[in-house]
């Protein structure tokens, strides 16, 4: 070689660059799934970068179905879902998958009536409306619940989500619990064969159509209704109380609801007089046995931080935090993750 010195220099520079690159490279933890908790998850990842700068999170909000598929295929380090995984799907997993509940939300019934009267509903009437059996706003069942309000002789236009969503899952889960007829005819899933009404895409599609259609009723996430200043109904719970959906009444449902050991719970129609009946949680999905020890350690650290400090940010972003008792149980579950 003509110029060995130069060659050495180049080689040295390249090697050095390589070394520094690995030293400064952050660990990347990948996740995918539910869209509903995306705002708070991205806030968490952002804040956590200040706590531990050596790890970065990449979260794709591709939907709960995608989240479950990807964790099963082990293409991500954690999945996220608005509904617990079915036994069938868990059976396909190469290892044990843990459900880590993070935050909860409520589904509210929003409507478009002249004069915006306050509206009270119970499970029976909500099911009747969405089954297409209660067709008019002045139906005796509705007027009996709302003795104070003047309900018009107007046709009810039912609006539901057309896209598969956790919101629909929670709503149909509630209806299946309160109405035998609903359970038998329609059932419970992220999208169902709707017996009545028109479909709007996303929360914005449903609320847009409710806003534009006099006499319409639809269901959206609580956050969406409060941000858009839409009226929403009080719903009668199992204790016989009419409860306004709020962060407090969601957390109340979480603390009185029956939560099984594997955290695959549904808190719709929860007991307790302060509990709002149509709410649900969202979960992170992780393998109990982590394949990559270094990554697993970082993931566990993050999960603990989220359960302790992350929960405090929930209310600002209009999510209901988990009650303390449940939080303690979640922390114990995180400790079970093995490296």
């Amino acid at each position: 070689m003509k110029c060995p010195k130069l060659a050495h220099k180049i080689l040295a520079t390249v090697l050095l660059a390589g070394v520094t690159a690995t030293a400064s490279a952050q660990m990347m933890i990948n996740g995918a799934g539910a869209t509903f908790p995306y705002p708070i998850y991205s806030k968490w990842f952002d804040e956590y970068a200040k706590v531990d700068p050596s790890v970065r999170f990449n979260y794709q909000s591709i939907g709960s179905g995608g989240g479950q598929k990807q964790i099963l295929a082990q293409t991500v380090d954690f999945g996220a879902s608005d509904g617990p995984m079915s036994d069938e799907n868990l059976g396909k997993a190469p290892g044990k998958i843990l459900h880590i509940p993070t935050v909860a939300g409520a589904v509210v019934l929003t409507y478009n009536l002249a004069g915006n009267p306050a509206l009270k509903l119970d499970g029976d009437t909500v099911a009747g409306i969405f089954l297409g059996q209660i067709k008019k706003w002045n139906d005796p069942k509705l007027t009996a619940l709302n003795s104070g309000a003047k309900l018009p002789d107007q046709e009810i236009v039912v609006v539901h989500r057309s896209d598969g969503s956790g919101t629909t899952f929670i709503f149909t889960d509630y209806l299946s619990k309160v109405s035998g007829e609903w359970k038998e005819k329609v059932g419970n899933n992220t999208s169902v064969n709707w017996p009545a009404g028109i479909g709007g895409k996303g929360n914005e599609g449903v609320s847009g159509q409710v806003k534009q259609t006099p006499g319409a009723i639809g269901y959206v996430e609580l956050i969406y209704a409060t941000q858009n200043k839409m009226p929403y109904a009080e719903v009668k719970n199992t204790a016989g109380e009419f409860v306004k959906p709020s962060l407090e009444s969601i957390t109340a449902a979480l603390s009185t609801g029956d939560i099984p050991e594997d955290f695959r719970f549904s808190i719709t129609n929860a007991p307790g007089k302060d509990a709002y009946p149509i709410c649900g949680a969202t979960w992170l999905l992780v393998y109990e046995q982590q394949k990559d020890a270094a990554k697993g350690k970082k993931l566990v650290e993050f999960l603990k931080w989220a359960a302790k400090d992350g929960e405090k940010m929930a209310k600002d972003l209009q999510y209901a935090p988990l009650p303390d008792t449940l939080q303690q149980r979640v922390l114990k579950r995180i400790d079970e993750i093995k490296m």
């Binding site: 179905g65 896209d163 059932g187 169902v192 709007g200 599609g205």
Partner: protein, 329 residues
Amino acid sequence: MEATTPAIAPGEPLSAAATMTRPSRFGDKAFEWLTLAMALTVVVLIILIGWQLWNGSAIAIKKFGFHFLVTSTWDPVADQFGALPFIYGTLVSSLIALLIAVPLSIATAAYLTELAPLWIRQPLVSLIEMLAAIPSVILGLWGIFVMIPWLRDYPFPWLKRLFGWTPFFSGPIYGPSMFAGGIIIAVMILPIITSVSREILRSVPDLQREAAYGLGATRWEATRIAVLSYAKKGLFGAVILGLGRALGETMAVTMVIGNTPQIAASLFKPGYTLASVLANEFTEATTDIYLQALFEIGLVLLGMTILVNLLAQALLRTIATTSATRAVQ
């Protein structure tokens, strides 16, 4: 598309020049192979997509068989899937869109090439092309908040009063409907049909027009006989391009069509399209058979698009031969 390329005679003078200078043959061959490879990529891509869709829906195809195409229940809870309402909705909404967009686009193109004062042409063309640049989701939101309330309050009740006795305009008016879906698609395919039609009309030789005027034709007669009739084949190609677009339009349609899988004669009733159900349900489908059924929907959409294009080309050939015989006579 072959229909839209004006028939230029193969370059005789070019090949003459080539023999004179004798350039290296290698360049020509390389160019030929390169372009062939490029052209083949498209074919390979379509075959791969088709194969992937077929593979992804194998279980559903086995389970539902031919019933998938002719049954109407779409029930993800009971795992019962039938695509007929979606096929129907796709065809009907595209048909409505063509009925609205084709006369509008061709008239616009004729105005722009034949009648409009020169100073107005370019601004109008830019405006129409700008319409194509509006993102689909924006059109959808405009559809929900502006178009649907207006349709519901004015044109729909009026149509119902006039034609309510036919099954097509009967029943309650909600707003989101098959008709609204068709209109939104029409808006989306207007620019493409207009621009392609304009190019085609511009390529009509002036000799045609001059001959018509020479025979004492009025402006209308010259446009109709010498221009539109001459360009018939090309215009048909433009319509087919628009139809291809219409069949696959997704976002804006999903937002205004009402998303209800039913087959109803009334255009005021909500409908559903193949592309819409994919956009709606793909992300949250958790069971295997559900996902497979959605893959099969994709396969049906691909098959339908190919079928419609083949039919259109067959139709085009008939038109071409009949006009040719008429020209001879």
